[in-house]
């Protein structure tokens, strides 16, 4: 059972519980307009699609850390914020969620990860990157 407080070393919440909440659509997405701008890269366009994607759950889901909320956002200062990495194709993404004091699940972040974990860096360019480079070269030649 989640108590809403960060637990030393491990996750603050059982991911299966938050995943079930996502499945039911019972999760508030913080700053949805910003999240949707990023989520378009995953062909996710609506709140429902984003929550269903998290509920799957995503590939290579890896627990990052759990930290207490530093500010009083959602009137929930000190509540545990669990952060995870996940993968989609060559990209690594980041999501974080918490349970507010009101017992409401909040997806606080859902965005491409700025920091790749060690070993995640691709050794060769992806087919997409090669295609982009090739198309760029062709455009340049066509001028």
């Amino acid at each position: 059972m989640s108590d809403g407080k960060a637990k030393g070393g491990g996750a603050g919440y059982d991911f299966e519980v938050s995943r079930e909440a996502c499945k039911q659509g019972d999760v508030f997405i913080f700053k949805i307009s910003e999240v949707k701008k990023d989520a378009k890269r995953l062909n996710l366009f609506s709140e429902k699609e984003i929550l269903q994607f998290v509920a799957q759950p995503p590939d290579r889901l890896t627990f990052k850390d759990s930290r207490p909320l530093e500010n009083d956002l959602f009137k929930s200062k000190g509540a545990a914020v669990d952060a995870y990495y996940f993968g989609c194709g060559q990209d690594t993404w980041y999501l974080a969620f918490l349970m507010a004091v009101s017992r409401k699940w909040v997806l606080k972040s859902f965005k491409p990860s700025d920091v790749l974990q060690a070993g995640d860096e691709p050794e060769v360019a992806s087919g997409y990157q090669l295609g982009e480079a090739f198309a760029k070269a062709l455009r340049g030649k066509n001028k």
Binding site: S33, S46, A100, K104
Partner: protein, 220 residues
């Protein structure tokens, strides 16, 4: 963007009614259709700082707009394929679909999988011909190489790539040994559409095909 305080809206996180509401128009785009706009609402809870769509109204508006955009994209894709010589019946035979399946898609009864399939065929129309021939691996490989050659011809300096010889030889420039595939290829004067006539050799699989190059909406 307009802003107002709406007492009737409740924050889903803290249940406060101190909610500021603003509205703005957001543009969305889906493949093979025009961009479309959706009026979106944005809420800010003055009490706990939560920001977002508190009533999930945006999803409803988006779903309605998306449905119309998808219907439009299906029509455009099928019309484009038809202009390229790939009729509904041809597509159904190539993909082993029951008769009138494509007509049902066009009339609005379609799945997400159907849309995904149509987008793939619209982007690579030659896949229909490969499918018609049982997804023959050798034919598929040869077609990919030919498509690459046609695109190089279209976008590159014509004296540099393939254009003058009339048939393809080894190309050190792009690191592809085309002779290994035994696919003599010639290009028509209109590289933007078809013109790719080839003969599969040597295994008595001789034949001549022509097919659209690149996406059906690619400019010539």
């Amino acid at each position: 963007m307009t802003k107002e305080l709406e007492q009737s809206v409740t924050c889903p996180v803290c249940d406060s009614t101190e909610v500021e509401t603003s509205r703005s128009e957001q543009a969305h785009s889906l493949p093979y259709t025009d961009a479309f706009k959706v009026q979106e609402v944005h809420h800010l809870c003055k009490s706990c700082g939560a920001e977002g769509d508190f009533g999930k109204e945006n999803d409803v508006a988006f779903d309605i707009a998306k449905k119309a955009a998808l219907a439009d994209s299906i029509n455009r894709i099928l019309d484009g394929l038809s202009r390229s010589g790939i009729s509904n019946a041809h597509l159904e035979r190539a993909l082993s679909l029951p008769p009138r399946t494509v007509a049902r898609w066009k009339s609005g009864t379609h799945s997400d999988a159907a849309i995904a399939l149509l987008r793939i065929v619209a982007t690579f129309p030659w896949i229909a011909e490969v499918a018609m021939r049982g997804f023959d691996r050798r034919l598929a490989d040869a077609t990919v190489v030919m498509q690459a050659g046609a695109l190089l011809t279209r976008y590159s300096d014509p004296t540099l790539v393939f254009h003058t010889a009339g048939s393809l030889g080894p190309s050190a420039t792009y690191g592809v040994n085309l002779t290994q595939l035994n696919v003599p290829i010639s290009f028509s004067p209109q590289p933007e559409f078809c013109g790719l006539k080839f003969t599969m050799l040597p295994e008595a699989k001789e034949g001549v095909m022509s097919m659209p190059v690149g996406g059906i909406y690619a400019a010539g």
